[in-house]
Amino acid sequence: MEANNKQVHVDSIGEEIVARVAGIDVAKDSGMVCTRVPHQSQPGKRTTTVWSVSARTNSIIELADRLAEERIERVVLEATSDYWRPFYYLLASAGPGGRAREGLAFVVRHPVLRASLGCATTVNFFTFVSGSVILLFASRGLGLSAGVIGLAFGVGSTGALLAQ
């Protein structure tokens, strides 16, 4: 590295140090995995492990378990063409909450789903604000008897039926 110093470009804007990291060089049929984690006993030193994983669903799921055991914080993929897909999707959905996180990420990125989730959640929140006190209000605030409240709700409910 010292010899080629002039050719090394350091991207200072996006620079970030991840303590426990893995990289996978993905080929058609396999991936070469490399993990770098802090050394167990010697501070400042790092342990590098390199091994090959076949690009099969079960092997990649095993890899995901192993990376989770080593508490890897980030995995970086390098691949030609579409061969990154099995590694990307299987690793992304691994671990607790993986699939839920994927679902949420999809919702947040999708303009229609993001707006509908925000809108529906806001509506839900406020209808439960009113729903929790409406009966009490009908009784205490409006001074209606149980029978009249029931009648009002019964008549009112036909609105939902009509809209169908």
Partner: protein, 131 residues
């Protein structure tokens, strides 16, 4: 379609203000409560039925369960908080004011829709399956 969702987003939560504002003889108070429920019922149907159809169309088959899981967790997860806030407000500022806040706050949900593509969606064309 998109317009129905937008109308529903307001018509579902807002009519409770009619009940909150009611005064006068008993038939007026009861009528206001019934009218609020009636309009709100129309609103929820405009909102839910159309929004569910729209969501079904835009979610790819392979993502359905994951999206539904994440969506419902947040959408339904907010409910207990709404109920807690409703109870607290009812105690602190009164039942009538709580209902008015709920009506106004619920109507503000429209703000999520306005900048989105949803109000401009007129019909759902069934294209080829996406995956």
């Amino acid at each position: 379609m998109g317009r129905s969702i937008a109308v529903g987003a307001v018509l579902f939560p807002a009519p409770i203000a009619i009940a909150a504002a009611a005064d006068g003889p008993v038939w007026v108070r009861a009528g206001a409560l019934a009218a609020a429920e009636f309009l709100s019922g129309i609103g929820v149907m405009l909102f839910d039925v159309n929004l569910n159809s729209l969501q079904t169309t835009v979610i790819p088959d392979g993502m359905r369960s994951r999206v539904a899981g994440a969506f419902s967790t947040i959408n339904y997860g907010i409910r207990p908080f709404g109920a807690i806030v409703g109870g607290l407000l009812g105690t602190l500022i009164g039942l009538r004011a709580t209902l008015l806040i709920a009506a106004a706050g619920g109507a503000l949900s429209l703000l999520w829709l306005l900048p989105s593509p949803i109000p401009g969606i007129h019909s759902l064309t069934l294209s080829k399956p996406q995956r």
